[in-house]
Symmetry: D2
Subunit: 357 residues, 4 copies
């Protein structure tokens, strides 16, 4: 088990390299009799698809998903669901010049050290292309969660420029190429990223993902806490270097009485007066919105020349041509949503097992 | 598997409630013929032990560990190692007043919602007392790692007061009750925490854990990445709300050429010119120091009265007496070290399995 | 994970050596609010306890179980349940003479080859004493299954002497020291085993375990089939060399039309006209009785001298004194029942997770 | 995790239905830098392929495997290996008449009860077609084991007719359509199966699989014993109803001194004077041949009419046309070999992890 699977009951395994014939995912543990079509999955893949603006890689991949197993007459059967996406726009020759030298900040070097062999074309298994499989699995997970649970993501910072939360408008995220919830910020990011791109550089970003309608009681303490699983889920997305829940790192500076979310009754139901917990206490969902943020570092494949070494131990310079996202954080938004969905689906089934759902 | 186990090959399972007869951990997958005595484990438990200064809980627990299985003639045998710690200083009556009302920011409410029953005495299973079992497992993990890998932790922020990294001195951490690496900051924290404690409040904190001497090649992409497992490991520690690796959230504002750690040769070996990656690229260790930070929210059990509800749905107030840490972040330092150790031990064994160690 | 855990959702981990201070088991994944007391578990441990007749080992172990965690006010809380049994009647000196030589047919040699170290006292971890932990876990599993599912075991063959199934009487099993369902066979076994014991030899046996009231639908094809898990469960009991379901090996000689269990309706319910399937088709329970049989080889620790080698590579003879069961198959009956219970409990929870229970 | 995965470190997941577009398997945990081509896998698939004699199903499937990921320049890279086999000869209309009625002895009924939906075409997921994926995984496992470990299988009983072990000739197995090691028995089986086939009936069988060259020390006691994993592995093959190791069920009638395999020294190495243990003691390999036998029940899809019920609860008769193996045991031989290979590969990696290989 070299680590290509995720989840306990809702469990998927992804496979495939950036420049092989195809990539895909097999999803096991899906309850039977859920409606599931290729169109249901394609919708989410299209949101992640590259080449939709000048701020993402210009690789043109239709990312058409095929369901190879696990459904019958449009419904899931309880058997494993294989989802396959062919790779069509491969320009492997772009990668010849990086075959024997390591991009700083990239997995090139560590794959080489770990395995002694690597598929250098487009990053091989380390390519962000793998995240298409996550998005496909996430689409299935949403079927398990049902319509009562809504998962939405937004980009909240690009480079040094953070959104103004006072302007937050979920409806705005679809109206710009960045999933930006602050209509005033989107044009500033556009300008900033144009500069970055023209300079042959790249920019980092912060993503926020929110799940609403999650019932209280999901999460298995103490090592399969809901926030522990979310942290792992997000941290395994390419280029992510940090994850936080609710108030997150800001909680360090809060006093106990400010941080603790007080509770009152409203219409016979418990309500919280704030959500510093991000919807999770003791590793278990509270019923509030679950709020996760993660940071994506700037793309390591850049045009600017960098000092590095090659496989022979020579000191060399490298500049990466190929086709890369100036800010991979943009396409990480639907990926973060997918990872939220798979974690929640898994814990929903686990809670159901002990009689709680 | 309700989530009380951690690890794939080096795998441990903890058990026990704060006010039951004992807590403990069974560690499975330990290679045979490693020297292991109770004293080896006790050393680390003593570092975490409460009641050693006025900044931690006044509960007096000797935390004496007993090895019940898995060793013979002072060596591990390859069979599971059961480590038991008796609870001795239980004052369950302190908790009567919280038996039917929920502390804001605490797991009280979510355990109730999830299980419909909870051991309210001292937090039961949700108590930070569980972390003693983690520390015991971590001591065994260090034996697996061997003396070549050093793991050290420090407290780098208390409330709003962060250390000055220019003053960093690992040697200073043992010289104050906070594991503070900045000798100038320790007295300021003492003063600050005295104020917090007297006010019946509590403070958050940030911890940094560093592992040195880790070989390149540890970590199993893509879902068992080393940083993914570290994120989960740290996030499951009580009260943790965020985890970051290397540059972490600051990476959002870096440009690609600044963030990427350039490489040169030195004495025939690859060296990196910076460590924004925190020692991990593509989920695999680079051979540099592995650097993890996590944030601990302020203790939710505080004297200050807070608004909450009870199990009957009444709006009530709560003030928590008992004996609590004004800043649980302090004792989280040895716990974070332990979690670093268990993650590395697991991945060391996994890498060995595929022939890489 | 060196293999000391069993189950996916109802998951337990056993630990402890025959001559260490204690043995035990931690059971994770138990649903909350089930009534559970030490007496509930003790009842089943007493059935397995040695020294109750001259046909089992004369080691006197009270096998008193203590619940160290996971219950509150007599109910399970959903947290891990640690069950501890102290070892009291250890005569380690009995084993000095086998410290450096290997009993033929025993795990002595393989533990030595695998680990390079072993606790030779009483078989250490390889001792059948470990099965007490299984029985304790099985008692908890029965609580999960509830009163509607009955699990019963019987000894059906000792040495060459098999019961006559025409005489089968479940009520008779408690009336003899062998769990023999054929009242006519019990005295013959007594006579036979007296001869075996006096000759310093030992005898093999076959056990049958039957679960009634199991709903249709349990089992996860294709690798976690109910029969696959039962086969593993039984085969891991000490000294077991074969497992079969329903018609078992006899099915080889049946024709398809005889082997297939035909179906009719009775009072609006499906009934089967035979049970060659042993209650499992395609790895999933049919609703019929689940019927499993397994064979236990004769005890390898015998008084009769055997040719062997020692740890230095010398050819030597060995005769094992200590206190051993002339027929370990007898005490394997409650162990087989326990393993049936844990497998069913796990699959019941798994089926519940996908909405089926 | 609905049970479609097998193994801990060498871990594979199969997917696909008999009459869907394709079936396949993703193999994770394969060490890097092993030579692996499609031809390596095809060799074993061809041995299992249907339609090669009149004693197996007449379905014509080329079973051409494609490697979609995990290799580069003809070597494994350490990333997951997806192996895909297209379904080409589907005659779904053959199955219309069984769409709403349950074949006795088949998984039809239990899938219906478990999932409330099933792909009835050709057995869907319950089809023996799934075993092609096992054989593909087994081919990869053999690469992990290397040339020093040989795995061979033979059919040793068809219906009531068992081979004479005195005639055993491994070389003979390839010379008849049954993998029969007894040249004198093969023509008798041919005659017998012709009769069975013409009668519209089917026959059971017993298979023996032997692994030679396995080092001592493989197997993780106590629940991941080598024999426990083999028992599960074989029992999950379609139609298997029993598994035994070494002397197996015959051990019940042996005395302890006969059953225990005595040991002597030969050329400085330990040798055993018999192999009743089947190469496994205490769940760990001894270094002797590992010997496993399993029984396959007669095919449940037969022409002869059987009494059954339908999905509406009506009592009906059923006769299965389609194309079926009169004795599925024949094609189970390469499947059993494959399952032996995957279990050994997994345990080899696990033993390597703790430093033993």
């Amino acid at each position: 088990m070299a680590g290509n699977s995720f989840g306990t009951l809702f469990r998927f395994t992804t496979w495939g390299e950036s420049h092989g014939p195809a990539i895909g995912v097999v999803v096991d543990g899906v309850p039977p009799r859920l409606k599931l079509s290729e169109a249901d999955i394609q919708y989410f893949l299209d949101r992640r698809r590259p080449g939709q603006s000048r701020y993402t890689t210009q690789r043109q991949e239709p990312d058409q998903v095929k369901i190879l197993s696990g459904t019958f007459d449009g419904e899931t059967t309880g058997t494993p669901i294989q989802l396959l996406i062919e790779n069509t726009d491969q320009r492997s020759k772009d990668y010849r010049n990086i075959a024997d030298r390591f991009r700083p900040g990239h997995a090139d070097y560590t794959y080489w050290k770990k395995y002694g062999i690597r598929d250098y074309r487009g990053g091989g298994r380390a390519s962000a292309r793998e995240t298409a499989s996550r998005v496909a699995a996430g689409a299935v997970a949403r079927k398990v969660l049902g319509p009562g649970i809504a998962i939405r993501g937004a980009l909240i910072q690009v480079g040094p420029h953070a959104v103004d939360r006072a302007n937050w408008d979920w409806g705005a995220t679809a109206g710009n190429p960045f999933w930006c919830p602050d209509p005033a910020m989107a044009p500033r990011w556009a300008e900033y990223l144009d500069t970055v791109r023209k300079a042959g550089s790249s920019a980092g970003a912060v993503i926020e993902v929110v799940a609403s309608g999650v019932p209280a009681g999901l999460g298995e303490p103490v090592y399969d806490k809901l926030d522990g699983d979310l942290a792992r889920a997000m941290m395994t997305i390419n280029a992510v270097k940090g994850v936080e829940i609710g108030a997150g790192f800001a909680a360090a500076a809060l006093s106990g009485e400010v941080n603790g979310d007080e509770m009152r009754m409203h219409d016979g139901k418990v309500v919280f007066l704030s959500n510093n917990a991000g919807g999770i206490l003791g590793g278990i969902s509270t019923g509030q919105d679950i709020v996760v943020r993660f940071v994506v570092k700037p793309t390591s494949s850049i045009l600017k020349p960098m000092r590095t070494v090659d496989t022979e131990g020579n000191e060399v310079e490298i500049e990466t041509h190929g086709r890369h996202d100036p800010c991979v954080g943009i396409r990480a938004v639907p990926v973060g949503e997918a990872m939220m969905a798979v974690v929640l689906a898994d814990h929903l089934l686990r809670q159901r097992a002990i009689g709680g759902m």
